[in-house]
């Protein structure tokens, strides 16, 4: 091998070695090394406290002035509702704010003629009264005429005295559950539909049509014994003769009765009658055998 050849081979080897994918040194300038100091937390907390204090003082002052105005102009039950923290029909704007313990900063108020609408300024951070999360308050001639609450089953609107009672609230919730059940039924999800109807029935005991819906769902789910009981309960809950006398006015209910009676006959033929619950007899309380106690 000649000298120029040797030189070229060495050069190639040097280039290959240089191109080797070896470890690279990190050449970043350190931002913190031994001997430095970490910033003090107390300064950050003190700054936040100072800012928070001024913000809260402003909000509290605003809330207190609204509260004073609300209490100065209220009478009787409205006053009691303000103190209890419950928006009631007939309240003024200041009283509604006082009932939710909020200041004007929490609301956006829109006026159009005699109608005024008050909605929370920040969605997802809605003010609450004693009943629940308030999503809209409507005023007519500067008095509350409807309050909307966000509840588990959707929005519940309180626009009459009957809606404000416990029964009124239960009815509204039951109606929402029935609507949900109907939607599941239409979508073919009978298990969920039955669950919603059952829950609605817990709040609306006297609803015969709801009982019929539960019976139908059980029947469609091939649970004949339970369906039979429900059909019977449905028929028992009605005064059949009266409904027949009303004729077409109750055509839908009459149709449900006829169907329930038909299904009952079929179900009774298919399966034995549901076992009657034996009358409860007083039983003598006997102590457990000593062996079972020793085992534990």
């Amino acid at each position: 091998m000649t000298t120029p050849m040797k030189a070229s081979v060495l050069l190639c080897a040097a280039v290959l070695l240089a191109a080797c994918n070896g470890p690279r040194r990190v050449r970043e300038r350190p931002i913190m090394t031994n001997g430095d100091r970490t910033p003090s937390q107390d300064r950050i907390i003190a700054r936040a406290a100072a800012e928070g204090f001024s913000d809260n003082a402003m909000l509290t002052q605003s809330r207190d002035s609204v509260y004073a105005k609300a209490v100065a102009t209220c009478r009787g039950t409205i006053c009691a509702s303000v103190v209890k923290g419950e928006i009631s029909l007939g309240m003024t704007l200041a009283q509604a704010m006082a009932a939710t313990r909020t200041a004007p900063a929490a609301w956006t108020v829109r006026e159009s003629g005699a109608a005024t609408v008050m909605v929370p300024r920040v969605l997802g951070n809605s003010p609450r009264d004693a009943t629940g999360e308030v999503v809209m308050v409507q005023f007519d001639d500067e008095r509350v005429n409807a309050v909307s609450y966000r509840e588990t089953q959707g929005i519940r609107v309180v626009s009459s005295a009957a809606d404000t009672t416990t029964d009124g609230r239960a009815n509204a919730m039951a109606d929402a559950l029935i609507r949900e059940g109907d939607q599941f039924n239409a979508a073919g999800d009978r298990a969920r539909a039955l669950d919603r109807y059952d829950r609605a029935l817990a709040m609306k005991r006297a609803d015969a049509m709801l009982e019929y819906k539960v019976a139908t769902m059980l029947d469609l789910q091939l649970r004949p014994v339970e369906a039979q009981i429900r059909y019977q309960r449905f028929l028992q809950s009605l005064e059949i003769e009266q409904i027949r006398a009303r004729g077409d006015a109750n055509a839908q209910l009459a149709d449900a009765i006829a169907r329930a009676q038909q299904r009952l006959i079929i179900l009774e033929r298919q399966a034995p009658a549901p076992p009657a619950v034996p009358p409860r007899e007083p039983t003598a309380v006997t102590p457990p055998p000593p062996d079972s106690l020793q085992r534990d």
Partner: protein, 206 residues
């Protein structure tokens, strides 16, 4: 110089050498240093990392919009927070409690957030309250059913990525914290802090 003098000198030298050797063995030195000082020895997670994380999360959380929005929607009442689980997803031992407690301190001392006892803490308090119902006098007894419900739960985790080659190592920590609305499951605030460490173990160095 007599033979006896020479022997005495030799003995003295041996004793002196032994004393110096013994003194050199006692190499433990303890001193108090400023807790805010940066002291990195091994390169693993340490107090400096904890403080940096706490500072960043305090600044982001207490100064965030979420508590102001809540306060303005509730007439100046600050939101109530409960500390939930904060997980260490690294292979290292990372004491989570140090920076979480710093964050709790900031919440309470700033007055912008109310804090309620966490699941572990409250069981002891409830035991004491139950005990008071039997043993404390009526006027000093703590009442039952007056606990404050939290609006938000603080959760988070610590994750790490390591990269090493030879004597060099890079460790990257990412600390995420978030506040979840207990009713709607909405995350109302997310805080984050990242730490990247370069560890170079030189064989010879000053």
């Amino acid at each position: 110089m007599t033979f006896l003098t020479t022997v005495a000198l030799r003995r003295a030298a041996v004793l002196g050498l032994a004393a110096v050797t013994l003194a050199a063995c006692n190499n433990k030195r303890v001193s108090r240093v400023d807790p805010s000082s940066v002291t990195d020895l091994s390169g693993r997670w340490n107090d400096v990392d904890s403080k940096l994380v706490a500072n960043a999360l305090i600044d982001q959380s207490v100064g965030g919009q979420w508590n102001g929005q809540y306060a303005s929607a509730h007439g100046g009442t600050p939101p109530t927070v409960i500390v939930g689980s904060f997980r260490n997803r690294t292979l290292e031992h990372v004491p989570i409690g140090t920076f979480v407690k710093d964050l709790e301190r900031a919440y309470v001392n700033s007055g912008r957030v109310r804090l309620v006892a966490s699941r572990d803490e409250r069981s002891e308090v409830r035991d004491e309250r139950d005990d008071q119902q039997t043993n404390a006098s009526a006027e000093t007894r703590a009442r039952i059913g007056k606990e404050s419900g939290a609006n938000y739960m603080l959760q988070g985790d610590v994750q790490a990525i390591e990269d090493a080659e030879g004597r060099e190592k890079i460790v990257f920590y990412q600390i995420d914290a978030f506040l979840v609305d207990l009713e709607s499951n909405q995350k109302v605030w997310i805080g984050q802090h990242k730490i990247k460490k370069y560890i170079d173990r030189r064989r010879i160095g000053w």
